[in-house]
Symmetry: C2
Subunit: 145 residues, 2 copies
DNA sequence: GGCCAGTGGTTGGGCTGTGCAACCATGGAA
DNA sequence: TTCCATGGTTGCACAGCCCAACCACTGGCC
């Protein structure tokens, strides 16, 4: 496969994946949409951040994040703590419940992926993972921070 | 990277990509959403198929495809020809205009991807493309045809 | 102190994409 | 003919998103 075809293929297959992931996500965990899951995961990894940070990281409008966050708080999965240094800021943290749910969903998602990738040699998995990381880390219109 | 971590990484990075692609797509080509573009592209490659085929391939509800197709037809990008062998079937074909628009959008998307992937060695591109194809071709909840 | 631009966040309005369910028309087999 | 399966459309509701307007607070400036 030459480089031009490869680029074309990557573009197409990534798009296909994007749609499937979205389609499958809601069905797997009615309690936690793909968006909610991702935001929750980011909170888990970062150990607390502002809504604005989430918006910047995922290239989402702040209003979108605001509503997502509000829903997560209503669901009791996160809590918003006022920042001592800047009264405008609300720092988002996972609650114990949020941490638990996140863990469950992560595990079941992981299981689904693991099954799907079961027949892949370990080295190919690493290769694939590396490619994705490298791709997403690259600069571009959709660049995160 | 061990297999478990690789699976985890693939899952996370694909998800990030999914969101970014969605976010960036509309802005690039106001005339052709990511969905429309993908469906149009499939039509271009397959050289005509049924709405049901599109739905199965992309794990979309037939009603969704029906509406997308209707919009594409209204825009003059595709046409629906009754199938001679089965009167229920409408075979979808690109129009000349559709082929032209598809070409333009494909080229500009390709350019964006190419730029993003510019510093990748050709062999890595092929590798990445192969991984994606293999992943998407694999069986699973989001299986296509 | 007061003024004002900038920033974090919320809310209102509207659009797109989507699935589900109900429906119609055709095909094909009992 | 009757009945079920299939391709497709339409009504309905909902999620996710953006834009614009808005409020509250910050920090620099007069």
């Amino acid at each position: 496969m030459n480089a031009a075809d490869a680029v074309e293929t990557i573009q197409r297959e990534m798009t296909v994946f994007a749609r499937r992931a979205r389609a499958a996500a809601g069905r797997m965990h009615p309690e936690l949409s793909l968006v909610s899951y991702t935001l929750l995961g980011h909170l888990g990894e970062s150990g607390g951040c502002r809504a604005t940070d989430l918006a910047a990281h995922y290239a989402l409008d702040k209003s979108t994040v605001s509503r997502q966050v509000a829903a997560l708080e209503r669901a009791g999965l996160i809590e918003r703590r006022p920042d001592a240094e800047d009264q405008r800021v609300l720092v988002l943290h996972l609650t114990e419940s949020g941490r638990r749910i996140l863990g469950q969903v992560t595990e079941s998602r992981r299981a689904a992926f693991r099954e799907r990738l079961a027949d892949w040699p370990a080295e190919d998995l690493s290769l694939f993972a590396d490619c994705l990381v490298r791709y997403n880390a690259g600069s571009g219109p959709g660049r995160h921070d």
